[in-house]
Amino acid sequence: MKRYTSLNFTALACAALLATTSLSQAAVTVLGWPGGPEETALRAASEAYNAKSDTAEDDKVELIFFNRDGFFDKLQADLAAGTDAFDLNLLATYSIGRYAPFMKPIELSDNAQDVYGDAVLSTMQFDGKQYGVPTDLSMHFMYYRKDLIDALLADEAAKSRYGEISEKYLGEALMPKNPDDWSWKDYAATALYFTKAINPDSPTRYGTVLQMKNLLFNIMVFHSLPRSNGGDWLDAEGNVVVDSDAYRDALKMYKLLADNGATPKDSLSYEYAEANAAFGAGQVAAMMQWNAAAGDLTNAETTPVIAGKVGTVAPPTGPEGRFTHIHGLGLGLNKNARNEDGARRFAKWLSTPEAVTVYARNGGAPGLTEKIVATVAEERPDLVPLGDYASNYGFVMNGGTSAKALSVYELQAKEFTGYWAGQQSLDEALTKTKSGMEELLK
């Protein structure tokens, strides 16, 4: 009897194992971006897809996640090892070229262009092919203290002081303006004016907070400035053109602000969280920051000191126009997908108006066209400028989706921070960046 029980147990265990294996092979397994609103939104979208009457049992979506820390390094190792543990996986604009050898292009729904627009679709393209369905869009807003700017605009004596400071530090007497009309010089003048070390009457300790840590994401934040000066990575012929006046002036502006104490002393170790903490403490007048910070910085519970006092606009204008770096997160198809057909069907559905509205209503941040965003504007007013800014000001550097794009960002982060820290001259930094980029992008 005991022997039979043991055999039965073994048989049951084997059957269960086989059932689990066949189930996991049948389902569409998606590796998503863990934690935060992206995970919540993807869960809601996959549940909606699974609940659809025309979704076959074999096409049901299962989600898997691993930690955010080193996510892209781990993903690269998995893909390079030929994993088939997931069918669709997370993609980011700056890493598409790196992952493209391990992925297959996909087809989106027929109305994808009406849903996203060209600028957003291009964040998931490489070599002219669509490698991913866009899910979330990241860009930069300029966050500023409305109360401080309003007070400045209403005070003649303050305006005069503002003009004196801008003339002394920038060589030009400027007058305060509405933030939506700022040039980068106006931004710099405001940052200097609201710095206590320069203007003892300033209500804030610093005029701005620059994220200057040697980190690739910080270079993305910086990029909107050289781009508005006409800067790019490569020209039309594919030559590296980073050693340009556009980059030179932009790098000098950051250094001028840092050297004159307009940004916190430890800015060379600052990234997203540190900058938010500085702004949230009420000691900074304006800053460039990712759109993802809007929720926290306008929430009275998380940042009570500045609650109700924060305005957001697109980054300032330069001689060549107004720009904001954009990059997208999305889902792409693993070359070794076990359920390729099912994965393709889910990706296609994700780019339909039905799916993006579910995704948006559940916390995601897709970049949507005016027509589509209008359907969710009531619940998600923050998505309205996202689509607007993306289509009007969004840019991706020429070469920004190449196989070595991440390495280029890393290289620029290293060399530019070396200049800002005073460890090398501007010429040295740009020469090294140019030669390093030529090596990487050859």
């Binding site: 690269q76 170790s269 890393e410 290293k414 070396g418 800002w420 460890q423």
Partner: protein, 289 residues
Amino acid sequence: MLAANKYENPILLAPMVLFLLAFLGFPAVVDIIYSFSEITFETLRAPKLSGIGNYQKVLADPEFWQAAGFSLKFGLVTAALECLLGLFLAVFLSPLFEKRTWLLAVIMMPMMVAPAMVGLMYRLVLHEFVGPLPYYFYIWFGDSPSFLGSDNIFTTLVIIETLQWTPFAFLLCYVAYRGIPAELREAASVDGAKALRMLWYIELPLMLPTIAIAFFIRFIDGFRVFDNIFVLAGSGPGGSTTSMSIFIYLAFFKLGKIGTAVAASMLLFVAVLCLLVVVSRLSQRRASA
């Protein structure tokens, strides 16, 4: 019975040997092959042998030498500070620890924290707007130094590392100090030796081998530092806080230079191995003297 004894040791050792071969031996062999190959993420399974090119590239790379210089300086300074502080605590607080042994557990606590968590903790502690340290600096002095600015970052990192790992050096020194036979101290005392002379001529020479071992262990740990520095400062402005381990990580994952990274890791391995052999020889020579 004899036959049983003959096979007993190999059988008992087999699981450990198999484990080491699978989890250390195999990756080590793969690393050695990669270090002599042209290799990318696309060709991980089909590396193309290319001789000593990767080693030549690494040895000609100024960033490698900058990282080696940082690691060497960091390892030497932190190991020296930790040993000095550990020795000081072991000798001068020994009477206290004898009476209150539970204090040993308290002093060991920093070692229990994961280095990455220590880096994260100090990101908060040193932040100008949320950290307690700058807060009190502003209250007391009206200003706060730039703890993580390019001028002070090395000092800050050394202090953080020293605070976390001094307990390790202390523990070894304390055990060595307590292990000195009481009759030696009594004899020296009868001969009129005061505390300082006794420390210099009796206790320190007896503790020296332990201090040397503590120094070398801490030096090796400091030389290959990664977690706390990477979490706190990354590779630093202009790569100024890039240790050897950070150099290898960046080359491998961020720049995709797998051959360079693996060759650098092989060089690091050989350097550490040589150091361990020297330490081991010195210990043996001293033991046999």
